[in-house]
Amino acid sequence: MVEIQVNGRTLRVDAAPDTPLLWVLRDHLNLTGTKYGCGRALCGACTVHLDGVAVRSCVLPVGDVGRRAVTTIEGLAPDRSDPVQRAWIELDVPQCGYCQSGQIMAAAALLRLHPAPSDADIDAAMAGNLCRCGTYARIRHAVHRAAELARGEG
């Protein structure tokens, strides 16, 4: 048994401590918004927040999470109200959509650190999140837009 905090709830999970957090979220907790893409922290599809910091859940053993708060795409905001989600909707960023949970979580973590990121900040923060549909240009645009929305410049 492992105890973790996910999206504001404390949960006990019957999983071996070496199980990556990704599979605990997906298979044990049915939080399938967090995606499997590579298993080696190469693609970013599995990005979640750990105490607000973007991490790759596919290489993080659940036993190492400890008391840190896990936030997944399902827990980012109610009703798709996070500025990042609002910007993503406004600009219709997703195509196939598979990588977008990870993109959104990476962007949300970036904006926490850099409320007004430059293109270079965005490139640096988002370079680890692959998108085979090639939505990068819209993502960059949407991160800037999300920053505006977060500042109340709706």
Binding site: R26, D92, P94, C96, N129
Partner: protein, 743 residues
């Protein structure tokens, strides 16, 4: 096809004929599952009465829940928005009042151009353009007739708007109130469709219907299917492509936590456990003796060599013959010839292959992200030992398709596991499984030749394409030249009087598959690079040279002119170099200009400018996003795309070895969509093929080095010096980068 190929495709050797494929269709009206799209509250089913089915694509419930069934798979290209828009336009309903669900397998969903219920060839909108507007108009006509009958008035006095029918007296019925009556009326044979001037939805940037679910994690991909009692499977497959398990020792694996089943299949060894991580751990504990089969010594160098030998030794089957190219070459004042090559590629969809099967006594429910519902049904039926009509296919969102999900090799193991255990089983391929057991984009070797007459005009053009034949495995039999191998060549627009395109099939021992833009990518790279070579030989500007060859092609001229103008053709910024490419494909005309600089011996791509004439557009914002998407996809291929094989084993296993473009490597992309009154063309694939020739032509402009083998960066840093001044002779056996001849 060789049986070794069949071994790699599933739990049992499965072959389909085109007839089986067509015959496996169910009638419409099977079980439909919602895609977890967040519907407005009013759209949620709350009525006790069943919705009325007005046609294969439309259901209207008494509570005014309007459901549109989409028969093409949503893999990012926007069909869950574009296709419902076509129906909604004529139905007189707002798109955001419609619930979208995936269609089941059904005869009505047959795509004639694809010979089946198939999402591919960029023809979803082309296929639906008249069909779905007609379906919407028919339904509207029936609803109006039903309302008019209730009122006892002439339907001509009634009007349908925003889901409500009104008459001259001001009475009103919602669609839901008369839908059941309407469904009993005969379908009108002839309905008038709105002229484009009256479109209210078509041509507007309506929001995608799938976006909300894709920003909150609720969109359900195949890998996200969760069923009561579901177990998870991992499939061990032969490291050598085409191999199979000779023997399996599962003693250790069977003792691992959570393991429920170890099952040897022709395609590999399936391990099923309570959780996927347990299945993966148990898979590592298997002791499998693999029979490598016929590919134990296969390598990509030998594959290339076999293609080159075939190119040199066989004239090929004729796919296009205008005039007499050989005679024209024989009398030419000057000729030029070169050999080009493209490598194997992996699709590398972000969502690895997976399938969920629930086999019960009454049949099988299959939950899968697929581009081929009928083939999926047939594959599951064989694996479950039931007739195809007992397999209900539930199409999920696809986490990328790119043609990979036209294959069904990832389906049988899930069915076999569920059949053995009597519980739902989800089999997931790891990224490594996915990358090392793809149905790869085939390699090609192409010799291209041209002749100038005494006046300096291009009088002869000859292209010989050598590659494996995907269609022979996927949709046999193939007679004559398969159109899928000569794309962008048989319809090449350049006005050259003697034009010959030939094809020779050369299999390579492994399965190859359709990949986004299929042979357009190879053939456009070859033709557009070579046209640049000819321009250089003629000492003409590549833009002027092309325009002279397009005198009778106004749509081509317009895209080329637009892209060149927007890119500042002829006056690049200091240190920048430009390259052009042009193509017609999927009934769309498109041109690109790449702007690069040279940085440490490698190209840095700063900007891609693209002009597109794809006819009328249903949703220009989605068109633009697809063009951007194709450019990014094409740039990954151009710079790094290459699968290599050693001793039958694919050498790239994940995104470290198989590099694709990242956010920080993005060029600026400028897309210009040209207004057009022509019927719609395809947009999902058409931007991919031009990137490589545009970038390579820019590379030539920068360095004088002609790139005749992709990817551009394959060993380039190390080999740059050796390649730059190669042998320059016409020895067909030499490396293609230096294989060119002049007389």
């Amino acid at each position: 096809m060789a049986t070794e190929n069949d071994r790699a495709t599933g739990a049992a050797p499965v072959r389909w004929t085109r007839r089986d494929f067509m015959g496996s269709a169910l009638s419409a009206g099977g079980l439909v599952i919602a895609m977890n799209l967040p519907l407005p509250a009013k759209a949620a089913t709350r009525s006790g009465r069943a919705p009325a089915q007005l046609n294969a694509w439309l259901r209207i419930a008494p509570d005014d829940t309007i459901t549109i069934l989409v028969d093409r798979s949503e893999m990012g290209q926007g069909v869950y928005t574009a296709l419902p828009t076509l129906i909604a336009e004529e139905l007189e309903i707002e798109l955001d009042r419609v619930a979208i669900v995936a269609a089941p397998v059904g005869d009505a969903y047959f795509n004639a151009a694809n010979v089946g219920q198939v999402t591919g060839t960029s023809n979803s909108v082309q296929d639906a353009w008249v069909k779905l507007r007609t379906a919407g108009a028919q339904a509207r006509t029936m609803l109006v007739a039903a309302a008019a009958a209730r009122w006892g008035v002439d339907p001509g006095e009634c009007r349908a708007r925003h889901g409500v029918i009104t008459n001259a007296a001001g009475d009103r019925f919602t669609y839901g109130a008369v839908a059941a009556d309407a469904a009993r009326l005969p379908v009108p044979a002839h309905v008038a469709l709105k002229p484009a001037s009256q479109f209210e939805l078509i041509g507007r940037d309506l929001p995608r219907t799938d976006t909300p679910a894709k920003v909150d994690g609720s969109a359900q991909f195949g890998i996200d299917v969760r069923l009561p009692g579901m177990l998870y499977g991992a499939l061990a497959q032969s490291p050598v492509l085409g191999g199979w398990p000779d023997s399996v020792d599962s003693t250790e694996a069977g003792k691992m936590p959570g393991v429920r089943l170890v099952l040897a299949l022709d395609s590999g060894v399936l391990v099923v456990a309570d959780h996927y991580w347990q299945a993966l751990a148990a898979r590592r504990a298997l002791r499998v003796r693999w029979n490598p089969g016929p590919n134990a010594t296969l390598g990509d160098a030998a594959i290339r060599e076999s293609l080159r030998r075939t190119e040199a030794g066989d004239p090929g089957l004729v796919a296009r013959a205008d005039g007499d190219a050989d005679a024209a070459l024989g009398r030419a004042a000057r000729t030029h010839s070169a050999v080009y090559e493209v490598p194997l590629l992996a699709h590398a969809t972000m969502e690895p292959m997976n399938c969920t099967a629930d086999v019960r006594a009454d049949g099988c429910d299959l939950y899968v992200g697929t581009q081929v519902q009928q083939l999926s049904q047939a594959a599951a039926a064989v694996a479950a030992g039931v007739p195809p009509d007992r397999v209900r296919v539930h199409t999920t969102f696809l986490g990328g398709g790119f043609g990979r999900r036209l294959d069904v090799d990832f389906i049988p193991a899930a069915v076999a596991g569920s059949h053995a255990l009597g519980r739902p089983v989800q089999v997931i391929w790891t990224r490594e499984d996915d990358m090392t057991h793809d149905t790869y984009r085939p390699p090609a070797v192409e010799r291209i030749s041209a002749g100038f007459d005494a006046a300096g005009k291009v009088d002869a053009f000859k292209l010989h394409i050598v590659s494996p034949l995907i269609t022979a495995r996927m949709f046999p039999p193939v007679t004559g030249v398969d159109p899928e191998v000569v794309e962008a060549a048989v319809n090449c627009a350049y006005g050259i009087p003697n034009f010959l395109v030939t094809y020779t099939r050369q299999e390579i021992g492994i399965n190859v598959g359709y990949m986004r833009s299929v042979s357009h990518a190879a053939n456009c790279f070859v033709i557009e690079s070579f046209v640049d070579e000819l321009a250089a030989l003629a000492r003409k500007d590549p833009y002027d040279f092309r325009m002279e060859l397009l005198a009778t092609k106004p749509r081509h001229r317009r895209v080329l002119e637009t892209a060149a103008r927007l890119a500042g053709w002829g006056k690049p910024a200091p240190g920048r170099h430009l390259g052009l490419a042009l193509m017609e494909g999927y009934a769309t005309r498109i041109a690109q200009v790449a702007e690069i600089s040279v940085d440490g011996g490698v190209p840095r791509v700063h900007r891609i400018v693209c002009a597109v004439d794809c006819g009328q557009m249903v949703n220009p914002r989605i068109v633009e996003s697809q063009i951007e998407s194709g450019i990014v996809f094409g740039l990954s291929e151009a710079l790094w795309g290459e699968i290599t094989i050693a001793n039958g084993v694919v050498q790239q296993t994940n995104f470290d070895g198989y590099r694709v473009l990242r956010a920080n490597e993005m060029p600026q992309i400028v897309v210009e969509l040209l207004p057009s009154e022509e019927p719609p063309g395809g947009i999902g694939e058409v931007a991919v093929p031009l990137v490589a020739p545009a970038v390579c032509n820019a590379w030539f402009a920068a360095t004088g080095e002609r790139v005749r083998s992709l990817p551009l960066l394959s060993g380039r840093a190390a080999a740059a010096a050796a390649v730059r001044r190669g042998s320059g002779n016409n020895d067909r056996g030499s490396a293609p980068r230096t294989t060119a001849s002049d007389k």
